[in-house]
Amino acid sequence: MKRKVLSVLLASAMVASLAACGSSNDAPAQSAAATDSAAASTEASTEAYNLEEINVVVNGTLTATVDNGQAEFVQQWDDAVSEAIGHPIKMNIQQLDHSGYTDAVGRLFAGGDYPDVMIMSADMFKQYAPTGLLWDMSEAYANAKFQSHLILPEINENLKDEEGHLYGFAPTYGNGCVTYVKQAWLDAVGLKAEDIKTYDDYYNMLLKFHNEDPDGNGVTGDTYGVIAAGFVGNEAPYVNYLPEFWQDSYPAILQDDNGTWYDGFQTDATKAALLRLQQAYKDGAIDPETLTASTKIAREKWFSNDQTGSSGVFTYWAGSWYQTLTDNLIKNGVDEKLVELAPIAEVGAYLNREAPVWVIIDDGDGDNSREQAIFDAFIETMMDGDKVQTLWTYGAEDVHWSTKAESFTINAGTDKEKSYEYEDGQFHLKQSPNDPNSVWKKNALDPALVICSLDNGFNDISSLAAEGNKFFTENCKDAPQSPTSETYTNESGTIYDAKLAAITSVVVDGGDVDAAMQTYVDTVGSIIDQCLAELNQ
């Protein structure tokens, strides 16, 4: 009898624990169901949707990260937006790893976890726009209050499809990469940036950086000309990290002047680019780790305090990154000055990428009130020209920026010591929350790229960032548009793998370019043909 009682008790305990696990797992679903049902009744009773919570998925472009004042940013957003829309609202941010963002979003969706609003790269946006997942915000955009202070209307007009649907909102223009060179290395090899005008000049500079001990450690050949995160990027505009080598080649599906789509990879221009890269790899002009380096690794290797194995040239984002890279070079005692290289003749202009966009997930219930409420709370306020736009641009008040009188010193006690002093009422950026030796730069919106003016007079763009933005806008052209077709969506991974295989076989293995191109055609030629047929029909 005792045995039976014991077994019953044990079984009950196990069932109870399982049930407990189950109930805790089911809680969000039940809660969601409850919210849905509450929402449904709200819709029935009132026209306006009462949005109490908004779930946001974002990548690393939000610089107010969890360890960098995100809690204060969110709190101030909650307060400001609650006041703006007239009822309490709470924002929940899920910030995913920047370099693996596409993967992470795929995993979220695979788990049925859809946010209310999220950021997408141009590539992602092109694939998702026709699926019905994204809400068409064209009407909301047309009626938005921020239209009154819109300074770059064409950015979002260009995002509309042929029927005029607008499935994503770009708060800034795309921006792009420019080529930076360490001034100290130029001086060490006796070159001037203004003399680098052609590919030959550029290549000669890279060779000198490899062969003439620019870091002055007495060893030649232990430095490289240029480093990048891959020979070709996995996001449009694929060539922006090594534009001097790709020149007029664009190794992706793109449109010609007549609007006909073609494969830019299967062109003589691409073959010539691959041969340039092959030679540079062989000559040590390119850091061999370019093949496997992520942007973070490439960046940190470039401004590392140990310059052995580093490079003199790095093509990276314009604007505020000009300031950030310079700061890091100074902080690590590498260089005092960074030079922006004007596009060489063969490149002509740097590429302005298609802008990343914020999208609203359509719940598919045929009722737009919830989506409109998300637009009003999130996008409309983001461009309010005042309090909320300031939050997205500079971060949280008295955490990332302030108007109160204060003085602070960075790098105190070192030869890089710098003091800042501000009067009461003077808008200024504070020390970064997670690094008191650097000054905060911006939050998610780059003030120099934003499409709506910030009208409260708050402006603290560093002179270098402003100079960088000016330099880029004077030397850029729009990148080709990304394609959208069913086959391309399904097979883009296979196409990318085949492309990388061809590039590495030529550049790293020193293989024959025609043979590599033939392998590419044999592997994915039929898929490309299918994509082109769909795009050109």
């Binding site: 077994s7 196990m14 069932v15 969706f109 699926t131 232990d222 590495t504």
Partner: protein, 321 residues
């Protein structure tokens, strides 16, 4: 009408079973105890298997799944990258299994022969440690060591020793189709050999000392004792380890994922990494296709388990399932 089969004991007495319901009732305590486990298995192991049906659907993160029959299987079998991944999975897994088992046996025998207990225990601890390091950390360490740039330790040593000319380009071990597999096996040996010795050392500890004493009396040398006593005693365990691990050869993922790159897909891409890229490395994945590849992988794994079971019955007299 079929007759119910009678069950008899070895002495020919017919065994009369009580009805199933009555037997369950009589043992209800045990069945009740088993119930949560049964529910757990159903929910956690069998319910997710319903997802297998998506191998026959176009299923994307958005929109309802649409039935497409065997489309994904046709597409998969026509794709070179899939067959390359399939071949690589078998080659890498089986080679890795053989190499790590072989080295574990050798190291076990050496450890068993060591007389100094302190040295033996210390060595055991040292060689067990890499097993507890995550593959991500292992990959970072070896990427630094094997870097082709001027900061790479191995290339630096090769230059110092005169194997590479001072101005020669470093060998890109992890991006070379010739070097990637040897390096992969080497890293696996470094990481897993120590852990693999545990089971062999346990077997060695169980060998009857009288066998060694008899060999001593017969004048056997150390090598002869190793050959004629130790190895035969280990043989059954080696076969068991090989058979048990053979059933897992299709499951290779993490070790490859952290060490491979696009330059070496042809020799390194395995089914699991292929599925990963098809699922997560594209903006709008088709889960139907990756489920189809996953299902194929599971079927091959299932066949391997059955083959191993058959082999186990042949060699050990009992199966593994």
């Amino acid at each position: 009408m079929s007759k119910k089969k009678k069950i008899t004991t070895s002495t020919g007495v017919e065994v009369r079973h009580k009805p199933l319901g009555l037997r369950i009732w009589n043992n209800r305590g045990y069945y009740l105890m088993f119930l949560p486990v049964f529910v757990f298995i159903l929910v956690m192991y069998y319910w997710p298997m319903l997802g297998i049906r998506y191998a026959f659907y176009d299923y994307k993160p958005v929109g309802a799944p649409t039935f497409v029959g065997l489309k994904h299987f046709y597409s998969m079998f026509k794709t070179d990258a899939f067959w390359s991944a399939f071949r690589n999975t078998l080659e890498l897994s089986i080679m890795k299994l053989l190499i790590t088992t072989f080295t574990a046996v050798i190291v076990s025998i050496f450890l068993n022969e060591m007389g100094n207990l302190f040295a033996k225990k210390t060595l055991q601890t040292i060689i067990y440690l890499p097993h507890f390091m995550s593959w991500a950390v292992v990959a970072s360490i070896f990427s630094l060591f094997l870097s082709p740039s001027s900061t790479g330790l191995v290339n630096g040593l090769l230059r110092d020793w005169g194997i590479l000319a001072p101005d020669a380009k470093g060998i890109y071990f992890l991006a070379s189709t010739a070097w990637w597999r040897p390096i992969f096996y080497l890293i696996n040996i470094w990481k897993e050999t120590g852990w693999g010795t545990i089971i062999f050392l346990a077997t060695l500890a169980g060998i009857n000392p009288e066998l060694y004493e008899a060999a001593d009396i017969d004048g056997a040398t150390r090598m002869q004792k190793m050959r004629f006593v130790t190895l035969p005693a280990l043989a059954n365990t080696i076969i068991t380890v090989l058979i048990l691990n053979l059933a897992k050869v299709m499951n290779m993922f993490e070790s490859v994922f952290v060490l491979y790159n696009n330059a070496v897909y042809s020799v390194s891409d395995v089914i699991s990494t292929y599925i990963y890229r098809q699922t997560f490395a594209i903006a709008l994945p088709n889960y139907g296709y990756s489920t189809a590849v996953g299902l194929f992988k599971s079927l091959v794994g299932c066949v391997l388990v059955l083959v191993c079971n058959w082999a186990s019955k042949k060699t050990r007299g009992r199966g593994i399932v």
